[in-house]
Symmetry: C2
Subunit: 483 residues, 2 copies
Amino acid sequence: MKFKIVARILGLLLIFLAVAMLLPIPFSLYYGDSDYIALLISSGISLSVGIIPLLIRKNEKEKKELRAKEGFAVVTLAWIVFSAFGALPFVIDGAIPSYTDAFFETMSGFSATGATILTDVEAMPHGLMFWRSLTHWLGGMGIIVLSLAILPFLGVGGMQLFKAEVPGPVVDKLSPRITETAKILWSVYVLFTAGETILLMLGDMSFFDALCHSFGTMATGGFSTKNASIGSYGSAYIDYVIFIFMVIAGTNFSLHYRMLKGSFRAVWKSEEFRFYISIIIGATLLIGIDVYARNYTNIFETLQYTLFQVAAIITTTGYGTADYETWSSSSQAILFLLMFVGGCAGSTGGGMKVLRFYLLFKFVYSEIVKLIHPQAIVPVRIGGTVVDRKVMTNIAGFFVLFMIITGFGIIIMSYMGLDFPSAAGAVAATINNIGPGLGQVGPTDNYAFIPTGGKWLLSFFMLVGRLEVFTVIILLAPSFWRK
Amino acid sequence: MKFKIVARILGLLLIFLAVAMLLPIPFSLYYGDSDYIALLISSGISLSVGIIPLLIRKNEKEKKELRAKEGFAVVTLAWIVFSAFGALPFVIDGAIPSYTDAFFETMSGFSATGATILTDVEAMPHGLMFWRSLTHWLGGMGIIVLSLAILPFLGVGGMQLFKAEVPGPVVDKLSPRITETAKILWSVYVLFTAGETILLMLGDMSFFDALCHSFGTMATGGFSTKNASIGSYGSAYIDYVIFIFMVIAGTNFSLHYRMLKGSFRAVWKSEEFRFYISIIIGATLLIGIDVYARNYTNIFETLQYTLFQVAAIITTTGYGTADYETWSSSSQAILFLLMFVGGCAGSTGGGMKVLRFYLLFKFVYSEIVKLIHPQAIVPVRIGGTVVDRKVMTNIAGFFVLFMIITGFGIIIMSYMGLDFPSAAGAVAATINNIGPGLGQVGPTDNYAFIPTGGKWLLSFFMLVGRLEVFTVIILLAPSFWRK
């Protein structure tokens, strides 16, 4: 492990975080809150600590190129460091007195999970409220990806860093240069965020709330500035605007880029995109029929709430307009399974990703055909090309590992005193980066009551989910540290 | 598909079932019950129907050898036919008036699940009670395996039939001849059943109850002759005898054979066996610590109930001495996960099998190592030999398919009105062939209240679980029926 290079990159990223912490200050001042002080202090601390590794004398003999394993280490550590320092403003201000709670909230922010320990969101001062939503936005498209886009000197080993933060099964390079790809992704992201903000303001939302909710949508995060989340507006217009942008955020961003360049055919040709839309339509129909007579009085209301909730869960945003725990248990079961599906590969959505599920279905079918015709060679194809065996094996391994972690997670959360649906809900809602779960951590509840150990574990799950499991887990393997 | 040969084999097996139906009659007569009439009539019906395909003129030109796909079709159909006709005595006698209920109970019997729709087991006449336990015993080691052992003319395509009924990831041939292997397996099975019966009688159990409970143990079935299952005896001796035989029944029978031939080293050298024992010890410790202060007054009582319940679940027997729903939610979560682990490959236990889990853990680790060292070749090994890639891929596919079926099963059972833990419990308890689940289908409940459609679906899951998924599911693939 080239510890010096790792430390230098982390130092650079920390300075970058210190700058980001200054962005909420105008809002603090505008609304006459005093939380800008905590933001300034935290920014100063982050800056001071970030400079230290840069002062260490460079060892010119060391190669600058990062190996795969260093890429994983840098990215995982960067996310931990960001959450550790990003939590400071909340603690210093006193808005969240417990450091554990502040770390949980910040990791929930950066990982675009949206699980909160706040019992009264609206009591938060505006600077910190903005910071909370900004963590979503920075983490949603990826801190490292952003750094690659705007800090060209990170180009050293940029590909390794990119692959560790965006580890999806298939890398869709939009440009041969990784910094160029990062710039494209972030430009599309900024564009959509601006568009949603304007559309929400047209629906009589304040600029502040519109911006924060757009951050939460495009990152598929879910933090709201309101205690009752999006439901507090009671506006079909706002519901549908956010619904559309949730679906956009859960789509592969390289498709958006292609579409913006005029290639609509690329979008419709994407098997993953069609599968994604089919699941949304299918789940909406199944749940809609179920909740129509039971919970709502007419079809329009049913459609509004069902579409929103299905998109909020599958894209792993986690915004709420309805208390789905009042829906029937079958509708809840469908939502619970959708939690694991998640957004498309290359989107800001969490979960296991639509592409992985699509390929797993094809993989299982190919195994069945192999049993029928033992001599046949049955490759898995997508978009007309054969999926490499190594990629398929990796996806299967991903699924198994994801399930093992979820299983053990449920046992440990049960030890913390949660009943079975709540434990399953808490683990699913964090490892899939959704936010609200089931039972005691349902859409109208929060994570405040979870014991300290549980909050750290769930924070770990959010990290594991955001970095798609392997990037984090390999750091725990003994052979990672062996020479 | 060679329909004529398939029909002839099914006819032969049905005649075999007709003979088996006569075995409970002595018990009916001894206890002065009148249910022997229903058994005789059912036997007559099975015999008459079974003869029909044998009367069709043989087509000498057809090759007698079965292809893989015919093996799968014969075995799946045989299990359905056995349950369909095996249910007749209950309906004809009137002990179970509904045919749906009787089919559920019989499939639960043959598949060694042990889920019951009976609200008062003890009201059942003795002949039918014996028949109910006998279905466990016949299905536990395998109807087809038994047929191969005693009906040499089935040798035609015997290997294909054997592989379809005992589809474990690795075939451990005890003899180059498949009929020889079947004979060995059944001899060991009979020996242990006899041994357990004697030991239970030494604990003051009647011969009838001892035999029925031995059938239920060695098949890892779980039907009891008592309403309160094994708990009704309140005897530590009986609990430990059954505990030991449950562990034996969940062990690979080829290991027993080797041990009986004096090779104790083979047992201890088996990585799967060591993993199996480690899980039992680990789970007992975790649960024991949890329930010690909460539910029991001393260590001996804790150990007695915990060991029994852990073994009853992991081996998928499903006998009960304690109402584990009064245990904490973490202990219940551990038991829920153990349901999926199941017995060893080549045992009578259900579930996904210890060997598959063991290899999946190794597979995931090899995927992690591959990420650290992208150029390395990292095969999965067991017992010093490399596991073939095809086998490993098949196991991964098995796991994915198992989870997909479980997920959809939970949704459908929720539609039937079950809450989330009950739906998850009902699906897990049937697809893993356990019996009791959680919530409304917990250890003190039964399946009587499930709607008709749910009973048929759960019966299907029992079949899917017993034949290890692929054998049944490939019959649903369109390419199975294509020429």
